[in-house]
Symmetry: C2
Subunit: 166 residues, 2 copies
DNA sequence: CAGAAATGCTTGTAGATACAACTATTGCCA
DNA sequence: TGGCAATAGTTGTATCTACAAGCATTTCTG
């Protein structure tokens, strides 16, 4: 890709710039890191002729849920996307015969996204690709303990971010 | 009624699921935290009748660059978006008269996104909104030192993520 | 110095996302 | 019980993004 060395050496720090506060810098790093890792994962998947990253996230979430099925609303919340978006995303996975829609006996409003064998199978193929890329990105300079610490820190931030919305 | 977070009664502690490894969990937390904070920022901006978050990121990046201008390629790299996407994004900011395109005398291929007074002015209005929301999300459970530590950790991860791509 | 390769950016097109409006079902309460 | 509000999901539309092809300019190489 393009990696020209912009020789603007003598100048204020040019990193992208949510704000100049320490927390702002942290957010900037968070955003850029997310984008970079996400991009890397997508490339790895594309290279192996696998479906895009959101498909993996859906499959992985559903696979770990009890009975390998999840309510649409819960799924949207976990993936942090809108419900409308999730409907269409699941539509594609259903069309690909990786998921099926099932319904609740006691509450006819709710529908489940339910994992099909083909979905579970595809997930097993995709997982090592994802795990491998993540190891490359994280493992090199994060011990297991540091990774757990990072997770806890981030979860704390997320809770605060959601706090006002609830 | 928008689609958003309709706080379901049972907040599912349902670890969504890149993988079950510590690094996978860290990535999951990173992704969800990014989405949650990003969403919060967008809501705050929308509520104040401000332009969307990407506009702020562009303005903030350009404003901190020397001479308040940046090459399109550098800008795309900093924002971690594609060049084609950036062209169109800048098009919109130019149409809104927040930026203008200027050109390089010595290399006619390059074009700069250059901040206009209106852009600088808007940025000054938007910044406190962003900073305020970030404080809410980060400040509550992160000291300044912890924020810096977090930033360094994330930057390290990002470097590794980019390593294979170069 | 000519022609090929590389660089910087833009455009055309297809796919995906958010937002808002809509239907259907359930819960609440007078 | 009747009716209004809340909940769960879907659909229609507009916007945004990525991807790939394209044009212009610069650099490299024989």
């Amino acid at each position: 890709m393009s990696d020209q060395a912009t020789a603007t050496s003598t100048a204020p720090r040019n990193e992208a710039c949510p704000a100049n506060t320490p927390h702002g810098e942290a957010w900037g790093a968070l955003a850029r890191t997310h984008a970079a890792v996400s991009q890397r994962l997508q490339e790895a998947l594309a290279q192996g002729d696998f479906p895009p990253l959101p498909w993996y996230e859906v499959l992985a979430a559903v696979a770990e849920a009890p009975e390998q099925r999840m309510r649409m609303g819960d799924l949207a919340e976990v993936l942090v996307i809108t419900r409308g978006g999730l409907t269409k995303l699941v539509d594609r996975l259903v069309k690909a015969e990786l998921l099926e829609r099932t319904f609740c006996e006691t509450d006819r409003r709710v529908s489940y996204a339910t994992l099909l064998p083909a979905g579970a199978s595809l997930l097993r193929e995709m997982r090592p690709v994802i795990v491998g890329e993540l190891e490359i990105a994280f493992s090199a300079n994060l011990s297991v303990e540091q990774a757990n610490e990072l997770r806890e820190t981030l979860d704390g931030v997320r809770d605060n971010a959601c706090a006002g919305v609830l």
